[in-house]
């Protein structure tokens, strides 16, 4: 029996200063083994030292299908860098569901305040709950520490192009606001693709920034026919050169839906500018897959072991053991939870419960889990 356990991702406690650390340790000793958090949170859900939590203090409709939330966090929030994303968890029907959003505010804004702008998917699980906070603040959220490498370097490049489409506007909006706060003097262009003018979150603010800083290039490109705007039509290299002639010497930060991202990356590859292009990945949900395939034809990646195998249709535990890994086999039948592993991505079908596990960084019992498509396990 080993002492290794799989722990759910918990945020690190921010370095407490001396007295806080001592009182915290004493409080934890008096409440051992559960810890003081389990008591203090009963008085106020944000009063926890070991987890980042926040409360929606304001929520407003941004465009027809996006909503902007202002979240006040607790002391555990470590601050973020413009462009990073945060896991936001909310309890829906007893289950904590997590989605990743990029704070849209300047990184120099109020220390414990975050702004999220989210697209509402009417058939979704999380976004309708978040959207319901409009006019009804107070929802408590759990947050992960900020993550991601889609950030601006320091010192800031002289020439910057921030390119976005749809709900990809949030990380680059954060970058723009940050640069404006810093009084950035270099050349800066903000190019955003949307269907039409009504579809642009922060449109008034963007227009106000343009008026205050005529040296910046704020370009709103509308793709719907007849929508007008500064740069009509879909993305092309020529249109980009027309709107931002100096983009060759700039670092470009791109965040947008796959068609836009693909078009931009293709163009930058052709003109040899890929080393100056920084892209933020969009994680897409997995669509319906027929559940009756014997072997799904995917690949199983074992992250920490650094190996991959082709899926042969048997359980993840069997395939891990055949690959020479120790899957911590317990009962082998899905009741003892000894073999639980974190599934970073992909879909795993539980043959006992019949459920499919789709979410990123989700724990699964590998002795009764069968991969559907590509799966990445932490093992």
């Amino acid at each position: 029996m080993t002492l290794q356990t799989v722990r759910p991702a918990m945020s690190p406690r921010r370095a407490d200063r001396g007295l806080t650390r001592v009182t915290g340790a004493v409080a934890d000793l008096f409440t051992t083994p559960h810890g003081a958090d389990r008591f203090s949170e009963l008085i106020n859900p944000l009063w926890v030292r070991n987890e980042i939590r926040g409360r929606v203090v304001a929520a407003r409709q941004q465009t027809m299908d996006t909503v902007s939330l202002t979240v006040r966090t607790n002391r555990a929030w470590p601050g973020f860098t413009a462009g990073q994303s945060v896991g936001v968890s909310v309890e829906v029907d007893g289950v904590l569901q997590t989605r990743y959003y990029s704070p849209a505010g300047s990184q120099h804004g109020p220390a414990r305040e975050l702004e999220f702008t989210i697209r509402v998917n009417p058939g979704g699980v999380v976004s309708p709950v978040l959207a319901a906070t409009v006019g009804q603040p107070g929802l408590v959220l759990r947050l992960t520490p900020p993550r991601g490498t889609f950030t601006l370097p320091t010192p800031r490049p002289d020439r910057l192009l921030l390119l976005s489409g749809g709900s990809g506007i949030t990380p680059v909006m954060s970058m723009l606001r940050t640069l404006v706060d810093e009084g950035h003097q270099g050349k800066l262009a903000f190019l955003h693709y949307a269907d039409d003018a009504d579809d642009v979150p922060y449109r008034e603010e963007l227009e106000a920034i343009q008026r205050r800083r005529p040296d910046l290039d704020v370009v709103l490109a509308y793709t719907a026919p007849g929508a007008g705007g500064g740069l009509p039509g879909l993305f092309t290299g020529e249109r980009l050169a027309a709107a931002v002639p100096w983009y060759f010497g700039a670092h470009t930060y791109l965040c947008g839906p796959p068609p836009l991202a693909a078009a931009v990356q293709d163009h930058f590859r052709v003109v040899g500018l890929l080393d100056r292009l920084h892209v933020e990945r969009f994680t897409l949900g997995i669509g319906p897959i027929s559940a009756d395939d014997a072997a799904s034809g995917g690949t199983i990646t074992f992250r920490r072991s650094g190996i991959s195998v082709a899926d042969d249709g048997s359980t993840l535990l069997e395939q891990a053991e055949r690959a020479g890994l120790d899957g911590r086999r317990g009962c082998g039948m899905g009741i003892c939870f000894r073999c639980v592993q974190v599934k970073h991505s992909g879909r795993v079908h539980n043959v006992i419960s019949g459920r499919d596990h789709d979410d990123p960084d989700e724990e699964v019992q590998i002795c009764v889990g069968v991969p559907v498509g590509d799966v990445e396990l932490d093992l």
């Binding site: 008096f30 309890e91 007893g94 997590t98 317990g330 003892c336 000894r338 419960s353």
Partner: protein, 374 residues
């Protein structure tokens, strides 16, 4: 059509007091019936799991809140512990809080019953309970060993915990004359017994585990036990100033209350007269149906009201727990009707009875086993 073989019924040995039907049970069922039984129970489990939601999450949170209130109330009463009724009330309240923490909350959370909530506070891999035994070690001996090898002699360490005799299949030795005493001592100090069980003390004594192998476990146990001892026998007594000794005694008594109650409940689950214990060579490759049958015949229920179910952590519904260990325990009462119906249709005895009768049966059984079997 399955090709699994149901092992032949073992011969009755002297001292076995089982009704004839139980031991010939698996002859009465042919492989197809066993497989059908497996499918019915799998289906029941799946239906229950698909309906898990806010009600279950709210329930465990309510229980956790109530448990904390009881613990705070109990510890507060020791501030007036010089007044005997307050001291007794403190012992009962704190004892009840520890019982609920260990059984309805701890045992069930650590079975993974609430892992689907994805809340780290009720996750089986990170939950720690108010008990000197480290959660991780208990989870191994309980979830992996006891639930997989339920009532298989020499594999299920819970059969007597290596200290007393629970089946005539354990060969009698003069040591066993003290059977009831050993059980009583273990019951009084049960949390320490569970910790020793987690360290596989019987295995160490028998030489199956070396000191080197046990070193990290011992380290883990020492740390857990130190914090528990510090909390119950130093910190809170000191806090009550001149009532130090009274609070210390009260906390110790509360731990004993939890120990004895938990031990009795667990003993009722597997040790009453008539419990089936298998030899390890009787169990070959089990399919799900066979595993289910073994879980039913080796478990016994306690009949009672909602308070009994809460205070036993729903281990009163032991058969249901052994069938569906990772189903939130509050569901066991609801599924018990269907389980009883399935047992009736397949002719499997479903053993239940009021608590006093089950405890009495355990004591009678252990007493009889302290003597050499005829």
């Amino acid at each position: 059509m399955t090709d699994t073989v149901i092992p032949p019924a073992p011969p009755l040995i002297p001292g076995d007091t089982l009704p004839a039907g139980l031991y010939t049970l698996r002859h009465d069922l042919d492989p197809d019936q066993v497989e059908a039984l497996g499918r019915e129970l799998d289906d029941l489990n799946r239906r229950q799991r698909q309906s898990l939601g806010a009600a279950d999450a709210d329930y465990i949170r309510r229980v956790m809140r109530a448990q904390k209130a009881l613990a705070i109330g109990g510890r507060a009463l020791f501030y007036v512990g010089f007044f005997p009724p307050a001291w007794i009330a403190g012992v009962l309240a704190l004892g009840a809080a520890k019982i609920i923490d260990n059984m309805e909350i701890g045992h069930n959370v650590m079975h993974g019953q609430y892992d689907w909530m994805r809340d780290p506070a009720v996750n089986s891999q990170t939950f720690e309970w108010d008990n000197v035994c480290p959660a991780e070690q208990w989870r191994y001996t309980h979830n992996v060993v006891h639930h997989t090898n339920t009532n298989i002699l020499r594999k299920d360490g819970d059969l007597g915990y290596g200290s007393f005799r629970v089946t005539p299949r354990q060969r009698w030795r003069p040591y066993y004359l003290g059977n009831l005493a050993y059980a009583a001592i273990l019951g009084t100090l049960f949390e320490w017994g569970v910790a020793m069980h987690g360290l596989d003390l019987p295995g160490r004594i028998a030489g199956r585990r070396t000191r080197e192998q046990n070193r990290p476990l011992v380290r883990q146990f020492r740390r857990k036990a130190a914090r528990q001892v510090l909390k119950d026998y130093v910190l809170f007594p000191v806090l009550t100033g001149p009532l130090f000794l009274s609070t210390l005694a009260g906390n110790a008594a509360a731990n004993v209350v939890r120990n004895v109650w938990a031990f009795l409940v667990i003993a009722c689950g597997h040790f009453p007269d008539g419990s089936v214990v298998f030899d390890h060579n009787q169990i070959g490759q089990e399919n799900r149906g066979m595993w289910y049958v073994r879980q039913i015949v080796t478990s016994t229920n306690i009949r009672g009201g909602r308070l009994i179910h809460l205070m036993t952590g729903n281990l009163s519904l032991h058969i249901e727990h052994h069938l569906f260990p990772d189903l939130p325990a509050r569901r066991y009462l609801a599924v018990s009707h269907e389980v009883q119906d399935i047992c009736r249709r397949y002719g499997i005895p479903y053993k239940t009875g009021p608590m006093y009768r089950q405890v009495g049966s355990v004591l009678k059984h252990l007493a009889r086993l302290s003597l050499p079997t005829r």
